[in-house]
Symmetry: C2
Subunit: 346 residues, 2 copies
């Protein structure tokens, strides 16, 4: 019914060629922006619906890129996604989102959907346990993939993530320089590269300072605000109580600070707390949260750029690019020192 409006109707209405209309509706860069927008506005007025399904059987590009992460509600991914979205928008690619919640079958269902739709590419933060073969299967079926945040040994595709070992060592070195000798690490799991590398950075920094990390200092698991909140109970039960905690993420750290307060411990004063990611909330929290800025915007921007390069015909790379993180020092690790000094003076 909607297809009764023909390209030629739009072309006649605007005094341009049918070919120009066709190119404009496919977002071809051959048509000037202003002309393209005018053609699209007229097409909309006339009720024309461009049939991408039919068109994508004729051309090799669908204009769709799928993005699949653990949970789009996690602000860490949110900031990466905003940056990807911005980059794809500029290139008129439609951006389709999906959560896998670390469920491999959900991730596979989404990849199947992308293959079935003839999507142009996939940006993926792989679910725990993703075999390299899953990525190769997508690639073999003409669905180029780029990895973000987590990488997979032997996947053969490029990836972008922060240098997690280095980033966590910045946090621990900072605490050691402030005089801390007992530093717990809360959250994350050895099942992801992120979790392994951040724990490794914590361990290495302690060892370098001649501190043997006690097994009970490593409270593995928490990755959400709620889990960080619950971990405060475990932390508060440690004897002796560590003077500081580095956390797998800002969400875990913010939850831990809520939980410490419930346990009667003043976060930032009785226990120094450091997060990871520098999400928007970190700077306004009470106390404001010292954290490792992880370059999410850069990860998203470069991952989208790498995929667009592939789509424009550039050769594939299998390099994992590590973005260098930066420590942001705020109240949650600064007031502890003052309170200790106060005790020493008194």
């Amino acid at each position: 019914m909607a297809q009764k409006v023909k390209l030629s109707t739009i072309a006649e209405a605007l005094g341009v060629s049918t070919a120009t209309v066709s190119l404009a509706l496919r977002d071809s860069p051959l048509v000037a922006d202003i002309t393209r927008e005018r053609i699209k506005a007229t097409a909309r007025e006339l009720g024309y619906i461009y049939n991408r399904r039919a068109a994508s059987l004729r051309t090799s590009r669908s204009g769709i890129v799928g993005v699949c992460v653990h949970d789009v509600m996690n602000p860490f991914f949110g900031e990466i996604l905003k940056s990807i979205e911005h980059e794809l928008d500029r290139h008129h690619q439609t951006f389709i989102l999906c959560n896998h919640y670390d469920d491999l079958s959900k991730q596979r269902a989404f990849v199947d959907t992308l293959l079935q739709l003839g999507a142009d590419g996939l940006i993926l933060s792989p679910a725990i346990g993703t075999p390299a073969d899953d990525i190769r299967l997508a690639e073999a079926n003409n669905l180029p993939a780029v990895l973000i945040a987590r990488t997979i040994e032997g996947s053969g595709v490029c990836g972008f993530r922060g240098d997690d070992t280095y980033g966590m060592s910045l946090a621990v070195d900072h605490l050691i320089a402030k005089g801390h000798r007992s530093i717990a690490m809360i959250g994350g799991t050895h099942q992801t590269s992120t979790g392994r590398d951040r724990a490794e950075g914590w361990r290495q920094s302690l060892m370098k300072a001649g501190i043997e990390p006690r097994p009970e200092w490593r409270i593995e698991g928490p990755r959400s605000r709620h889990a960080g909140f619950n971990a405060a109970k475990t932390f508060a039960g440690l004897d002796p109580l560590p003077t500081a905690a580095v956390c797998f993420s800002d969400l875990v750290a913010l939850g831990l600070m809520y939980g410490l307060a419930r346990e009667g411990l003043r976060p930032g004063i009785d226990v120094a707390v450091i997060g990871y990611d520098d999400i928007d909330e970190a700077s306004i929290a009470m106390p404001s949260l010292t954290t490792v800025a992880n370059g999410q915007a850069e990860v998203g921007h470069r991952a989208a750029g790498a995929l667009l390069d592939r789509l424009s015909g550039q050769p594939a790379s299998d390099e994992t690019v590590l973005i260098r993180p930066v420590l942001k020092v705020r109240a949650s690790s600064e007031h502890w020192e003052m309170s200790q000094r106060g005790q020493a003076a008194g």
Copy 2:
């Protein structure tokens, strides 16, 4: 290349008919779950890629539902989306997400994409300024729509949202019962039905109690945690200082509480604070946040159900269903009373 594996290859491998394989790959309910999964597993092993683009030109259903909201990172939408996702998953519908950030052209581009893909339906929390005609255009092009969280006068489609006027009146009535006579309302805008209705609930409850709301008590605008944080400055500058604040959302309330603490005011003790939405974080915040539970899960569940009903051929409804909210009383509105009692006793 991937299409070289034929339906008949899979059928032979499993000893079933080609028709059964075809139905199973299209998620037809005519094939038993266990058979469908076995067929899909075999198809995957053999490297068969079901071509949904070609198939959707032959059948009337693409299996895709688009969901478009202001911002998927907002935990209020997150909880609705999880519930929609769960319902669509059960019906083998692929769930495609998009943010419109209250940008009408972004919303329109997504609706165009859905039309072009031949999507089965749209669940939309409409961007500010969405004309009813946009919804009618989608419907006229065989894209049934269901609205969530916000509704549009005259759109002619059904919608699901909380009863915002009633919900906010619960919060204000509770504060009035605790003895508050000066209650600010922070955040939200008159450009959305949600913002209008919540402000109306606040105004009505005050009027009913014989309290004339002062213009400066209405701090309009904030809808994010950061904006709530910034609004604390404006609030703290009011003279006389209101004894309580009801907020447009939990995010605004949580940001306001951070901000009040920066201004030297103890949230929950010096100023009672109530949020709206009962997001996961509300119960663990410091202080734990009194809030209006808004039935997000029910909104999502019923919206997805209504769309699935439409897809199965049931007639369209243009009803807006208001879900009845419930007040969750926590520390942020309980300790204020105690502190006042303390003063009265002293």
